[in-house]
Symmetry: C2
Subunit: 493 residues, 2 copies
């Protein structure tokens, strides 16, 4: 089995290379022949679909409805909100023409200069502008509020250095946009959606996250507050996994979205926006997987159980087939996705390696001897432990095992994460240690100058002011000035 | 009740205006402030989501997997397949730059001339080119086939005259792309997917369709055969509701997708593609709706049952609330989506009109007198018939009623459609009658010349050579030449 897997670089050798290889070899995604864009392959997309469906249900439980807004945004919309344009104009794809025509040599097409747009359109990097331009027509009275919409779509940000799932020019995401009558309600919604993300990350993805609020420098362009969930990868770097923004009345004012309040007075609507993207796939892969390949939480695994027969001849295979059929039926009855792989053109060793690479949580192996003994070999992907069990009642035990695996990989990731969160009061020590990864809880004087210096000297950034950390008085480790808060600092993806 | 609805133009007055108004007033969609693009509003999107989920399940039952391919396609890819570029180059949005910058007066943004792309990218009008360019890397042996993928995404075709759902520059759709080792298997797949579409249209949308094959002129650009489902709207015009294409080896050759067959010989892969789009929303609306608003098939209605209380005071309302609670619970238990609208800020008459406009299939009204009598008023949206029924056992009867409505609106549409299909052998008669709508079964000599003449003189087109129509010898009604087939001709959307 080891032989088949030699092709995957070990994490300890080169974590970054391991990731890049794993994404491609596990059939999750690949680079497209379009600069910076990816193809999400069926296996990768199946995981993303599971994420989508669970998240979508959670959003709807909070009253959110889906809708769809245009891909293209008039250039001038971007300029309406001063900070927003600063943040997004630099990296957007611009549509300038609407037609091609045959070239003079009749062997290709060229842009038809006669088909130039009066105003250029940009491909949405995010949709606050076009959505608030629409909300203007939907919101007239406090009775129209709150307005809670979400869209699942593609967005584009022209990135110079791209990595599959983590940073691509085009990516898939959901973006929620809400409008409210009061500041309090909008702030509460922004925090509520962060909690939805955190619950999803921890309970479905089995990825522990630190929740907190971004520093001013790291805020979304146009937000008054950006809330974030930060996950720790196995190399100790942070991965921002979801953000929720309290946008104040910035977009309400920029797009003149006013409503009559209960006292019949005009007011600008209060806004939030919040999103998670295919970047979550990167977080999922990098948190759990190992040198044999993917490790998937059962809650998101497209195939939760694989059953592989061992046989020498057709007669033996037929007996295994017969024994497996009721187990498959019973597992499906329980809502468990199971694949019985009795394909004849691949050796069992190849299958073992392949399903390990793909991260299938539980593997059952059944041979002629097992049938005689009434046993089955059970392997759990997270620990790679194998155990021979009685065949009777196996479905129920597999179900329990899936629950165990879900818990175990979360606990493992959390133990790792917690062991790599350090309090640090000394900047020299910090500079040394941050190279090896980890989250550092440090006192900060609240100035962008200190933040910039840390970033320049260490490539680490303030990830957030974490919630639930006791904030005691202290001194900024860099400037020596009184601290305003203990913040979480780390290198990040 | 009539008063609230006066605002909707009657179908008999102006069918086209009725449609445009209905789409907006029923909160399905609206024109965006981006030329030719639409905003799909939450209520419209909820119907689209139901369609998506049902179709997606049907695709997966046939072995199809979802994936995602890039939005942007290098311009040169389009030119690879000669017919394909002819069909799509004329109407595509072209990305030429990847950055904006602040203008000189610092009050807006302009395209940064330094950020010009070496090769322009077009926004996908359809994805055969980028997908077959990717398949090249996925297909090496007959063992890699068939490859059955689908993506749900947005596409863009620059349309000069747009109408919500029916023809918009950007629209949402699914596009399935399959690769096969043999011609027969590919042809079978193209026909299989047409059948999936036809079943969905008839059983879920309750829209009867004619299945058939397109004439050469009307084929998808790059296809050897295009299969279609054609639905009849209430004005007798045809609406092409889904197409499935047998692409032969055209894309296999254009993108050099070769595989080793069982005899170890290289062969080009055989292709299909097939799609339905948000255009289906147009078909749904125009097939069933009436002068009071939408009529939705229960299978696709976001809310299947609405319950409205009639009360004079809080005490009465409380009693209705109590009586309704177990009914709501029972309906939900049965998997029926139900809304109890006891909002205090709208009169019952307004609610009645609004839910009629929105096409909610069943309405229950419960007042103080009903409680005394143990009765409830039941209205079915399709016929607008009201009936007082016993409250006891109402949930089960509502469930049956939903089934009845689903059947009834299909039957009604089919009866209408069948009554407007005419055999016609005389061109002068055809020219007169086609103005009033309807599908005409006529003998055709098989030439593009005759086809072009019919189109020019009557604005009607050959929709398809229908399946299941007995093909008897005959004479082309236009040219008088021997006919090759009886075809379906109609004006269309």
């Amino acid at each position: 089995m080891a032989k088949e897997l030699d092709f995957l670089t070990k994490r300890s050798e080169d974590y970054s290379k391991w990731y890049n290889e794993l994404v491609v070899k596990a059939d999750l995604a690949e680079q497209a022949d379009v600069r910076g864009c990816m193809v999400i392959k069926p296996y990768g997309y199946a995981i993303w679909e599971k994420m989508q469906r669970i998240l979508d249900d959670k959003f709807k439980e909070t009253g959110v409805q889906n809708a769809y807004f245009p891909l293209l945004i008039p250039k001038s919309f971007l300029s309406r909100e001063a900070e927003h344009v600063e943040g997004f104009a630099k990296e957007c794809a611009v549509v300038t023409h609407y037609r091609l025509k045959t070239n003079e040599t009749h062997d290709g097409v060229i842009v038809d200069p006669a088909a130039k747009l009066e105003e250029e359109l940009i491909i949405r990097p995010t949709s606050e502008t076009i959505i608030w331009n629409t909300f203007k027509n939907w919101i007239h009275s406090y009775r129209d509020l709150p307005l809670l919409v979400n869209q699942w779509c593609n967005v584009m940000r022209w990135e110079m250095r791209t990595r599959l799932f983590l940073r691509t020019s085009e990516f898939l995401w959901q973006e929620g946009h809400t409008a409210h009558a009061t500041r309090e309600e909008a702030e509460e919604r922004a925090k509520m959606m962060l909690k939805v993300y955190a619950d999803f990350a921890e309970n479905c993805m089995a990825v522990p996250v630190v929740q907190g609020v971004k520093s001013e420098t790291e805020r979304f362009a146009g937000a008054l507050d950006t809330y974030t969930i930060e996950a720790m990868m196995q190399d100790g770097k942070a991965l921002q996994s979801g953000t929720s923004h309290f946008l104040g009345q910035n977009f309400g004012k920029a797009f003149e979205v006013q409503f009559l309040n209960r006292d019949n007075q005009p007011e600008y609507a209060w806004a939030t926006s919040w999103g998670v993207s295919t970047r979550l796939m990167g977080a999922l892969i990098m948190t759990h997987s190992d040198d044999n390949g993917l490790v998937l939480p059962p809650a998101l695994a497209p195939t939760q159980v694989v059953i592989i027969p061992i046989y020498k001849n057709d007669e033996q295979l037929q007996k295994v087939d017969e024994a497996v059929a009721p187990i498959v039926a019973e597992l499906r009855q329980m809502g468990i996705s199971v694949k019985y792989d009795n394909a004849d053109n691949k050796r069992p060793g190849f299958k073992f390696a392949d399903y390990e690479l793909k991260g299938v949580p539980v593997r059952l192996v059944l041979g002629a001897r097992d049938l005689e003994n009434g046993t089955v070999e059970v392997m759990r992907r997270d620990t790679l432990e194998k155990e021979t069990q009685r065949l009777e009642g196996i479905a129920a035990r597999v179900k329990d095992l899936l629950g165990d695996i879900q818990q175990n990989i979360f606990q493992k990731a959390k133990t790792f994460r917690d062991a790599h969160i350090y309090e640090c009061e000394d900047y020299e020590e910090f500079k040394q240690r941050v190279k090896d990864g980890g989250f550092f809880l440090c006192h900060w004087d609240g100035t962008p100058e200190t933040e910039a210096r840390i970033k320049e000297e260490t490539q680490a950034t303030i990830r957030c002011v974490p919630f639930g950390v006791e904030q005691t008085p202290g001194t900024d480790m860099v400037s020596g000035k009184p601290a305003v808060a203990r913040v979480l600092i780390a290198r990040s993806y």
